[in-house]
């Protein structure tokens, strides 16, 4: 789409021209005739599975060199032909920060992790220390020097990942949904660092679903839908707002679950202490609080997966639908539809059609696909489709909107409201303010192992 190309622009950091890409074995183009010029700060927006990650991976050659497949057209970064240059040779030109902060660390200490790229590109040992210090300062992570990676929060880890690419002094920095796994505080840390990089003159490309904080400092917004791109001026871009009105059709019922003086944790070490909390049928309880505060432990305790160290947990009879933080924990069937069918067969609910939930979550188009081949947002919806059918009496959802675009979040809100109205007791652990506002009958903050109703 040449309309996105800025004519007369000769100082661009990256330039894609009529670029198309097909993943191995796919007849459908993941990127379709994309032409773009990138400089300054570019935000990449669009629905899950639309091609954002593929577009970003072209910029450092992971597509096609790492992922294989067919590619046509031309892509260059800083004058280097991306298609003809191996990804590792582009490492000092293009820095790439991935979604998941847990899966990027090679070493176990902060300085070593930041120096990993410098070791690879052969920077002299004497020059490394100062570059590591500078990169940590630029990413706002100098206070983390000496820390073990495993001791860092998600936001801190992402800052270290950012420092690790900045140390190589790349001209172009690409961030692929860097905040999707983070709490608001961690996300804010990372986005503040990104804005600071823009001010320091770096070229940035950021893929995000929540653009509110960035759009004012961006130079352009590129939307990606079904592999095609369109560039917009930031002033013309309207961030999608999740605004769903889901009025109740029935009043809450009797108590569905309760924790009485519960202390819970692992290996005798309490994560939650002295928690007394309950939820009713037809009621939605939203849990909020920082990463590591105890929300997941609370959900696992309510579900019965984690027996309490002290205290009592009670649940009314019926099926428990539990969405873990990592949707991949559930998905093992050959198709999305068969995942739904498995749950329905176990719930002995032959009357319910799988299409009901597939439609509700916008998954009809991908119902025949292998769930692990889907984008992260689609995977999340597939996991929801795998747990929610079959009229569960208790629904426990751990970060259900992770990686989801606005449309998918709206669909989820409608679906959860329907479960609530059908009498399910719902507990959501979420950082998503919109989800909390749309659905939460009560909001409980979980922090440092304590709970407090807001």
């Amino acid at each position: 789409m040449l309309a996105a190309l800025r004519s007369g622009d000769t100082v661009a950091t990256a330039r894609l021209s009529h670029l198309s890409y097909w993943y191995p074995g796919s007849a459908h183009a993941a990127l379709d005739d994309v032409s773009l010029v990138l400089e300054g700060m570019t935000l990449v927006a669009g629905r899950s599975g639309g091609g954002k990650s593929s577009l970003l991976r072209v910029l450092n050659g992971l597509v096609p060199h790492f992922h294989g497949g067919r590619i046509a057209g031309h892509a260059e970064v800083e004058g280097l032909d991306v298609i003809g240059t191996p990804t590792r040779s582009l490492a000092s030109t293009v820095g790439f920060v991935f979604q998941d902060p847990e899966l990027q660390a090679v070493y176990d200490t902060v300085e070593r992790e930041v120096a990993f790229g410098l070791e690879n590109i052969g920077i002299a040992t004497l020059a490394m220390a100062s570059r590591v210090d500078d990169a940590l300062a630029e990413a706002g992570a100098q206070h983390l020097v000496g820390r073990r990676i495993r001791s860092l929060s998600g936001g801190e880890r992402q800052r270290v990942a950012l420092a690790a690419v900045l140390a190589m002094q790349p001209r172009l920095v690409v961030l692929d949904e860097p905040t999707s796994q983070l709490d608001p505080e961690g996300a804010s840390l990372v986005l503040t660092s990104a804005s600071r990089l823009r001010k320091a003159g770096r070229t940035l490309v950021i893929s995000e679903h929540r653009l509110e904080q960035l759009v004012r400092s961006a130079d352009r917004v590129v939307s990606v839908e079904r592999g095609r791109v369109q560039a917009h001026a930031p002033s013309d871009w309207r961030t999608a707002v999740v605004a769903v009105n889901v009025p109740r059709t029935s009043a809450p019922g009797p108590e569905a679950w309760s924790l009485n003086g519960v202390t819970a944790g692992f290996s005798g070490q309490p994560v939650l202490e002295g928690v007394t909390l309950g939820g009713n049928a037809g009621e939605i309880l939203a849990l909020t609080g920082p990463n590591g505060g105890g929300k997941t432990t609370l959900l696992r305790t309510i579900s019965g997966a984690l027996p309490p160290l002290v205290g009592a947990v009670e649940r009314r009879p019926g099926r428990v639908a539990y969405l873990p933080q990592n949707p991949a924990a559930l998905l093992h069937r050959p198709t999305v539809r068969s995942e739904v069918e498995l749950t329905l067969s176990r719930a002995e609910d032959a009357a319910e059609s799988p299409d009901l939930i597939l439609d509700a979550l916008g998954l009809r188009e991908v119902a025949g696909r292998y769930p692990r081949d889907l984008s992260s947002g689609e995977r999340q919806r597939a996991a929801l489709a795998a747990v929610l059918p079959g009229r569960p009496s208790l629904v426990l959802l751990d970060e259900p909107t992770r990686g989801m675009d606005a449309a998918a979040r709206e669909a989820l809100i409608r679906l959860v409201a329907r479960l609530r109205d059908a009498g399910s007791s719902v507990v959501l652990a979420t950082h998503d303010v919109h989800l909390r506002q749309a659905l939460g009958d009560r909001v409980v903050r979980v922090c440092g192992g304590k709970v407090g109703e807001l």
Binding site: L62, H65, F66, T87, R88, S89, A91, S92, V94, G95, F96, F98, D100, E102, L103, Q104, V106, Y107, D108, T109, E111, R112, A115, F116, G117, L118, E119, N120, I121, G122, I123, T125, M128, A129, V132, I149, R150, A164, V165, M168, R300, S303, A305, A321, Y322, P324, Q325, N326, A328, A329, L330, L331, H332, L342, T343, R346, A347, R372, A386, V387
Partner: protein
Amino acid sequence: MNAKAAAAWSASCLVIVLVTSNPAYKCAVLAAAFTTLAATAGLGRMHRLLVGVALIAGFDVLLNFVSAHLGQTVLFAVPDSIPGVGGPYTVEALAFGASSGITIPAAILAAAPFSLLLQPHDVMDALPPVLARTGTTIAASMNLVPAVVASFTEVSEAQRMRGWRPRGPRSWAEVVVPVVLTSVESSIQLAESMEARGFGLPARTHFRGANLGPTSLLVIVASLAAAAGFAISQALGWAEAWYPYPSLMWPAVDLRALTGCSLLFVPAILWRRRG
């Protein structure tokens, strides 16, 4: 602490404990290894390791006592008609079992600095350049191990909630398949991240070279001197072997060989405690 110094010390401990049958020298190595670890890692961190080696050593003693019906000092006898355990049970067999039982804890404690005291990158820095990439790959995959363990817990819980129950080996596929697939995906994502940061380029350097300071040099010299001194003691017949059969005797102890072994205590003094 330098990994090369740790390697030299561990190797010297292992050489002595594996070449001698004399429990006096084995005990000296065991004491050096225990003291060094206690001084650097602390008894708290050694707790599980100590329990493990005690169990292994105990099993070794028991196995020899039950299976070797040699020696003149009979404690009791089990009728020969009982297969496997029948025969006389002797003090000599118990003593030989105890002596060989020292070997395993001494060897394990001698190698323990690599797990208790050194980080993977310490070891990697000490590797020759030709092994640097292999070392990096191993260090990176070690970082994934906790994620795999967590994934197993998460998957089995999630599948139980969904109605899965273990019913024979085939039913475990519902847990094992997602765990394996998730681990493979995690590895691919890590590989992607490594590739994007230039892993595999030919000109690789080190953040901090494994330079040997005076402390490390002293440990290496002391360790090599201990191993060489002991080897010479054995060659000259000073460090005598010990064999308890047919009748038990105290092991002969030579002060020159024992002095050589005592050099293995040097790291206990020089290495600083690590948290």
